[in-house]
Assembly symmetry: C2
Homo-oligomer: 222 residues x 2
């Protein structure tokens, strides 16, 4: 590329990365607020999460459009092209993380007698770890840091362990309190949504690791 094209390309990439950082920041806030609304039974806060998801979706559309424009105008080659494609893919995954937070927030009003659920203390702890994974993987993306990406991949084991524990806990709770089964089933989905957030953060971490090193991290089966 000519020098001015290189500069314009770098600016575009910086813009793309900025949009993704913005998406990630919003997704992180949504995870925290979805869980807070769930724990407190705060339907208004849940609605804010649902609304914020539209903003995340709009940012993904912006990433898509910018990526197409960058490819069309700058005709990047090799590594530069892969960087643009990676941005497209990562934006798609972050959008899905936002969706999971939205799905949690939408269940707020379907849970009754929330004070009686022990998992309502485990779920926030689990969500804390998942939100941290999202935070760290975006830091790893911004810094092109494969080590931090590997840490994120490793952390997913914690999220999975939480999930197994919450699943067992909720099933026991259902057995002992048949009247609460419907609410407990909702909480199962909440835990599952958080587990998927962890999987998607891992997914991004694998892309970041690959982009930085050219190597796929050791195989994990999702």
């Amino acid at each position: 590329m000519a020098e001015h094209t290189v500069k314009a390309f770098d600016e575009d990439i910086t813009h793309l990365r900025g949009l993704i950082a913005e998406m990630g920041g919003l997704a992180e806030v949504s995870i925290h607020e979805a869980i807070e609304s769930m724990v407190r039974g705060d339907g208004e806060l849940g609605k804010q999460v649902v609304l914020r998801d539209k903003k995340i979706d709009a940012l993904e559309t912006e990433v898509d459009r910018l990526a197409v424009r960058v490819i069309a105008l700058r005709a990047p080659m090799a590594d530069d092209l892969r960087e643009v494609i990676a941005a497209l893919k990562i934006a798609g995954v972050v959008e899905r993380i936002g969706d999971y937070a939205k799905n949690i927030a939408k269940r707020v009003d379907r849970i009754e007698n929330r004070s009686r659920f022990e998992p309502l203390t485990l779920i926030p702890a689990m969500a804390e770890v998942a939100a941290e994974m999202v935070h760290d993987v975006l830091t790893a993306y911004a810094a092109r840091d494969p080590e931090l990406a590997l840490e994120v991949i490793k952390t997913d084991e914690k999220v999975d362990a939480f999930y197994d524990s919450i699943f067992r806990n909720l099933v026991s709770h259902m057995v002992e309190n048949p009247a609460t089964i419907s609410s407990a089933a909702q909480l199962l989905f909440v835990a599952r949504n958080i587990e998927r957030i962890g999987d998607h953060a891992t997914n991004v971490a694998e892309m970041v690791h690959f982009a930085a090193t050219g190597l796929y991290p050791p195989d994990e089966d999702h």
Copy 2:
């Protein structure tokens, strides 16, 4: 583009579309077999679904690589570039549909006393509709048929209605049969996975509709 480049580009696009059709065909088979293994408690069949998912993942990687190569070598503009980007996105969604089938297949061994579950008759009916959506949306993609895409979007309502009915059915089942709660919880996830397959087929249908008409279909909130 020069004439020979146009021809080469058309061949590449045909190849991309062929790979996506192949992915879709495999995903469809996986949905059917995942449900069959679930209903019959056939762990061996379930394992085949899990293995097939690796093939689907490999095809997605092939789509990604070919798309990057096409962009780099042919430098497509405007509509052609959007076609390549759409192929990338659609391959990503079909890969996720395969994942949901795999998730169902992995639960086969976690369900006990399957003959006692009425939802085990509703779930195959639901999966039938979802698999048909996947089939139809890939036909719509291959034929660039926005009308068929709209039909797929419309059909998602049926899948959602099945889901609500199965959810209620399973919760009642749990209340009446506390000993089966753990298996019933697995079936809740199966139903949820099928519901997500319907959502993703809808998602592809929206892309097909947009690619064919330049218009987003009426807003559906996923």
